[in-house]
């Protein structure tokens, strides 16, 4: 079954606002990753946070991980129209025996 579940499913905001996406998962993980997908393009990796990390930053992105609640959040600050895309979380419970499990994705629309 699907491991990661993004929340909300869709979000529409104005340029300059912050966007927060949440991801919940069910089982133990080695790391959690966030990806972006622009229409008609492949997935682009945004950020990876390991199970022993609680927060990570990359440019305008901030990711938190709460392993006790089995949840993660992705914050995009000062959003731009170019941030319009679908965003996915994915959990990695292992490598050789487990596959990367993706959530259903969340559609973010940033209006200019």
């Amino acid at each position: 079954s699907q491991q990661g579940e993004e929340d909300p499913q869709a979000l529409s905001i104005q340029e300059g606002e912050n966007a927060t996406m949440n991801c919940s998962y069910k089982t133990s993980i080695n790391n959690l990753q966030w990806y972006r997908q622009n229409s008609g393009r492949g997935l682009v990796h945004l950020i990876l946070i390991r199970s022993n990390e609680r927060e990570k930053h990359s440019g305008r992105l901030r990711v938190t991980l709460d392993t006790s609640k089995k949840s993660s959040s992705l914050l995009i600050t000062a959003s731009r129209a170019a941030d319009t895309a679908s965003y996915f979380c994915a959990t990695d419970a292992g490598w050789w025996d487990e596959k990367l499990v993706f959530g259903k994705g969340m559609k973010l629309t940033v209006n200019p």
């Binding site: 492949g42 997935l43 990796h45 679908s86 490598w95 596959k99």
Partner: protein
Amino acid sequence: SAVISQKPSRDICQRGTSLTIQCQVDSQVTMMFWYRQQPGQSLTLIATANQGSEATYESGFVIDKFPISRPNLTFSTLTVSNMSPEDSSIYLCSVEPGRQETQYFGPGTRLLVL
């Protein structure tokens, strides 16, 4: 939706050899992608393979090392050529049916190069 199968599911290979990975989809799709996930790392897009055109490779990936075939709308192959231990990865194909902005992934091919 789309159901995707990959062969082989896993393999252990000697350096210098080549392995061809097959990806079969249960429906006709235009867009197909190949990804690599190295141990403990994130997914990295290798190339986009659309039927009827040459595959488009991402930066850092070249056709000589990862030749791709896309003979029809339900099938594709990725070859990992002249393998080295650094090629040990999970290789995944995915498809995007229509323009739904949702990708469906195959189960992956786990490759270990000794």
